[in-house]
């Protein structure tokens, strides 16, 4: 269980090659395709970080915007005072801390309540930030002017994605990951084999929240102007949930399968039919829900299973002979 298997090595090598290949995108295009890639990388990180927690626990968290906004605000407040990397660390700590508090308070709630609670959380944080700024500082907007361009943001997101994947992989191999698999199967059993279920969930929620916070921080220079409605935009929370669910939450790589095709699909719709975007996105969406009930990764697994069934049937035949 602790050694790298040959398969894992192969995947690792492929992943490194893949990352290296993707990292060259800014060398080929510095325009639209780069921006599209930034958006894809952004949602890839957010969805994967989200799935770290929500995949094994089946809790649907709508707090993404809260953590994201805290990250963005950390940079907005500190960009003139502290170096950017330090701000990234602070963003991770701040959003992780919030996730910890929320987790301790609410992870004993069952599914639906948690959903609404986290939605409320994002709004609450936005309100409080706005109120504090209105009453104790001048103005709500913060300017973030840096020399960072799209490609720097892309590379940072890519690096963060690598960290998220490695973290996810390490968690999966650790006791914590094993505990989460047991919790996902049966919480009662989990408790009775000695797993501190609440603690495990909180840890994962903190890790997930911290990553989302860092993502927000990385994006701040892209915003240039940070204000609560854009930093704590609830649409971010919804889009993350939806893309992750469309990809599938069973595997670490599954959300990516939601993010890539759907970012491109939605982009195509919105550029081809600017006046019918909502309508068509809605239709596309419903179609996906009905025809891809288990997400893209579910589809892939189904296909694989069909193949596998044939394979094992053949083997069985051989055995009979």
């Amino acid at each position: 269980m602790t050694r790298l298997s040959e398969k894992e090595l192969r995947i690792a090598v492929l992943a490194i090659v893949g990352f290296a290949a993707v990292a060259t995108i800014p060398l080929f295009d510095d325009g639209y395709y780069l921006s599209l890639s930034v958006n894809i990388a952004l949602y890839a990180v957010l969805c994967t970080a989200w799935t770290l927690f929500s995949g094994p626990t089946h809790y649907i968290s709508l707090a993404t915007a809260a953590f994201f906004g805290i990250g963005t605000y950390t940079v907005g407040l500190g960009i003139d005072v502290l170096p950017f990397p330090v701000l990234l660390v602070i963003a991770a700590i701040a959003s992780g801390l919030l996730a910890g508090l929320v987790g301790v308070a609410t992870l004993r709630l069952s599914g639906v309540y948690f959903v609404i609670f986290t939605l409320g959380l994002a709004e609450l944080v936005r309100q409080v930030v706005t109120w504090l700024q209105t009453n104790f500082t001048n103005g709500v907007g913060l300017y973030v002017f840096t020399d960072m361009g799209e490609k720097h943001i892309f590379w940072m997101l890519l690096a963060l994605a690598a960290v998220v994947y490695v973290t996810g992989w390490l968690i999966n191999r650790s006791r914590l990951g094993f505990a989460m698999r047991i919790i996902g199967n049966d919480e009662l059993v989990a408790r009775h084999v000695g797993i501190d279920v609440a603690r495990a969930k909180v840890i994962l929620f903190v890790v997930s929240g911290a990553f989302i916070g860092v993502t927000g921080a990385i994006l701040a220079p892209r915003f240039a102007y940070v204000e609560p409605p854009s930093a704590f935009n609830p649409v971010i929370s919804f889009q993350v949930v939806i893309m992750a669910l469309l990809g599938g939450t069973g595997r670490l790589w599954a959300p990516l399968l939601g993010v890539i095709p759907f970012t491109i699909l939605f982009d195509q719709i919105s550029s081809r039919f600017p006046n019918h975007t909502s309508l068509l996105i809605g239709v596309a969406f419903m179609a996906i829900v009905y025809f891809l009930p288990r997400g893209v990764s579910g589809l892939i697994e189904d296909l694989r299973k069909v193949r596998g069934d044939f394979g094992s049937a053949a083997k069985a035949k051989e055995a009979v002979r």
Binding site: M1, F178, N185, R191, H192, V193
Partner: protein
Amino acid sequence: MSSRSLLSVETVRKAFGGLVAVNDVDFSVKESELIGLIGPNGSGKTTMMNLISGALKPTSGTIRLDGEVISGMPAHQIARRGVARTFQLVRILPSLSAIENVIAGAVFGHVRAWGDDAYREAEVLLDRVGLGRRGGAPTGSMTYIDQKRLELARALASNPRLLLLDEWLAGLNPSELKIGIELIRDLREDGRTIIMVEHVMDAIRSLCDRCVVMSSGVKIADGSVHEVLSRPEVVTAYLGADDA
């Protein structure tokens, strides 16, 4: 018997709203003892098990494990102190393989093994419960007895100081029952402390040193199996419940 008591249950009560499921029950279990917890349906046996394992918290009263108060602790803490259990309706972890199911019991509990150690230990246990070389099997397609075996292996994986078996023999056919009884006898010979809730009287008779009888939440008898089962109040409790 001279050995000290491992578990002591002191005037423990559990009420669900107005319904008192366990009513000020006292008993104790000594090291290496195998006791039967019996009684008609609805008499509070499973509730008692849940109170010991921490699935439920007692309304009042104290439960001690080796002198330490465990009542009120969350289940995982109790598990870490060496209490393992099986469930009345077998609960395996369907998306995990058989051996992973066993390892699950070894990683977080009383013993905290990980990696190759846990794996080797789990293989030994699978072998012991009669599932040798089936570690990679998917658990969903296992037969009922195999699932029960697996659950027992998981409980044993933490090398528990106290093992709770909640109707572990229920639902087995006669030949499976024989195997099951042998398995428990085997454990007892290892010196493991066990409380078993059971309806199968043959098993109680042949396995238990002692048994505690509950009826309507109250302990009505506590003593050696033979003596207790011939007491009139026990007979009435049983006949009354079973025949009516």
